[in-house]
């Protein structure tokens, strides 16, 4: 039992680990898709500032259930992040 508790406290330090399939409790991201609004930022492999918000600490792409990006835009994000990685920008 003790061991289990320890594990739980360690995990909860990172706000992204807290998120399960059913909870959306992160203040970093809104519930609406940020790219489907008017005057949305352009998803581009040169726009590193934007892309860096959608990757984790270990440089993986964050799932859309956390960031609530729409399906089409998530596909585009994915390709652009990979392009930036090829050039060593991310």
């Amino acid at each position: 039992m003790k061991r289990k508790n320890k594990k739980f406290t360690k995990r909860s330090q990172n706000p992204l680990n807290k998120l399960s399939l059913f909870q959306k409790t992160d203040s970093r991201f809104s519930k609406k898709c940020p790219f489907s609004v008017k005057d949305a930022p352009i998803i581009d492999y040169k726009n590193i500032k934007l892309l860096r918000r959608y990757i984790s600490d270990t440089n993986k792409v964050l799932p859309s259930r956390i960031t609530s990006v729409s399906q089409g835009k998530q596909k585009k994000l994915n390709t652009e992040i990979k392009r930036a990685k090829i050039l060593g920008l991310l």
Binding site: I42, N47, L87, G88, L89
Partner: protein, 114 residues
Amino acid sequence: MNFYEHTLVAKQDLSTVEVDKLYNKYNDIINNTSGKVIKVEKWGLLNFAKKIKNYNKGFYIHYKFEGDSSTLNEIKKNINIDNSVLRHLTIRYKKLDTEKEYFKNDEKINEKKK
């Protein structure tokens, strides 16, 4: 004819003269083989996110041009032999926006990476 963007990553230990040579070389290649350079951006020396072939930094040169498959083949041929180029990337676009430059103040981007 299509629109393309092409980015080169050159080695860190090149002198400024050699970088200019590279820049002119690919500029000529595009212009001589039925293509037309619309805009060239020098992003300068940037830090990599992780090491590439034991280099921590690299010179970035970015071309926006119009051309055929023959232009692309010629660029590819030359880059594969070129020792001073680490990575490269070509992407086709339907429209090019030549106004926005993401790498104008390079220092701020480098600071955030650390």
